[in-house]
Symmetry: C2
DNA sequence: CGTAGCCTTGAAGGTGATCAATGTTTGTGG
DNA sequence: CCACAAACATTGATCACCTTCAAGGCTACG
């Protein structure tokens, strides 16, 4: 993981402007919001921060993807959430007196992350109600995903995997959904509370039927309607 | 469900002041925040609002308890969350253009709920950054609960039930934890994605061993350490 | 007094976990 | 560039946990 120089930072501000939550913000304002920020260039599997560490920074996903995970009693990690570009990470806890990170943040494939000091949140972010509302909107969708997954706990494994894949897929081309995140079967399993083997059995079946295909850990959903039929 | 008169409302403002998120607020300010609000007196199992209905009001739990649930594909309801007094419900979605309720809100035992019009949120709540931050703190703990439960998906049913009961219990007397919410085995099952029968088998076993006791749907944890031993 | 909601128990069955072994791909250092 | 390790994917056999289905009892309440 290496951080970046000043000029790259100002380039990143333009990237921020492309994300929905910063749309109405001028470059100058973004500059204030990102005082002392640095861009982290992360390689695959690189860890940005760890569960239970002191949280003195939060951030925004610039490119690639990250997973939020948390250790379980048995030592393995449970994947809590997959974060895509534009997602804000760790902001919720910045207002606490002595925050600890509630999750571990790990890059999935080469990714970039804008890391922002905690002080900034207190000084510039927390009193900007529009910004806070925008972050709440992000949280709202994330919360909604939790709800949806919780409502599917009783559904068979196939249904839950199908739901996850469809939710992670880019919806821009409805015929052939592409999941832009390099996704391991183990990560799918850890996200749904299943074992790798179960996930593999179900997904290789789908591959044989050509409902999905995998190359280089990039999954494409060839027949979304088939996957959807597992959900209901 | 019946709503209440004006004088009762002003009494409720004092109740609000007792909750952490409103501690620093004057009665006058609370009066502004609660313009057009009404107190709903709910009986057991009474529904305040339904999943997918137009969300034109949000609110605060005053007394008793409520469950947030959501219909599943099979028709049954999954319980998403149990709300206690001081909990804010529906605030996250008020900022959306045409919000729908993401859950059904149902009273558990006789309860009281302060229902506040959506307009209030836009006019008085959303630009009060201290208030919004306080609500975020609430959400933060709720989110944390989701994380914790998700991390336990691979644990056996007994562990997940133990975790839920301990989390719901009042921690003021550490020797004998009391769960103040009238809680059905079915509701526990629906919250954890189990069946009633499984929950009953595990909990009656605990009752026989005198780890817990139930009277009138009020559960007391007699031996917290025994339950904790299931979790790890 | 009957219905509705909740709790209980038993038997049978299935889904997904566990364990074990092997193949494949990716990445790294000599 | 090759050798070797590490991460990832796969397959099969067995088994446990939880579900499903069915039946019955208890209590509250109109």
């Amino acid at each position: 993981m290496k951080s970046c120089s000043k000029p790259a930072l100002s380039a990143a501000l333009n990237e921020l402007k492309a994300f929905p939550i910063f749309q109405n913000y001028s470059i100058e304002r973004l500059c204030d919001l990102c005082t002392g920020a640095e861009i982290l260039i992360c390689k695959h599997r690189e860890v940005v921060f760890k569960f239970a560490d002191d949280a003195n920074r939060f951030g925004v996903v610039l490119s690639g993807a990250f997973k939020l995970s948390r250790p379980t009693v048995v030592g393995e990690d449970a994947v809590i959430h997959f974060s895509s570009p534009g997602d804000v990470v760790g902001a919720l806890i910045m207002a606490q007196p002595n925050p600890k990170y509630p999750v571990t943040l790990t890059a999935m494939g080469p990714s970039r992350y804008l890391s922002i000091p905690k002080n900034n949140f207190v000084q510039h972010w927390s009193n900007d109600s529009e910004l806070i509302m925008n972050i709440q909107a992000l949280l709202s969708t994330r919360m909604n995903n939790f709800h949806a997954q919780k409502a599917m706990l009783k559904s068979p494994a196939a249904a839950r995997i199908a739901e996850l894949l469809i939710k992670l897929a880019d919806q821009s081309n409805p015929d052939e959904l592409l999941i832009k995140i390099p996704l391991t079967r183990k990560e799918i399993a850890d996200n749904l509370g299943l074992t790798v083997e179960s996930v593999i059995r179900i997904m290789s079946d789908w591959s044989k039927q050509e409902y999905i295909k995998t190359s280089d850990q990039i999954i494409t959903i060839l027949k979304p309607e088939k996957l959807l039929s597992f959900i209901s």
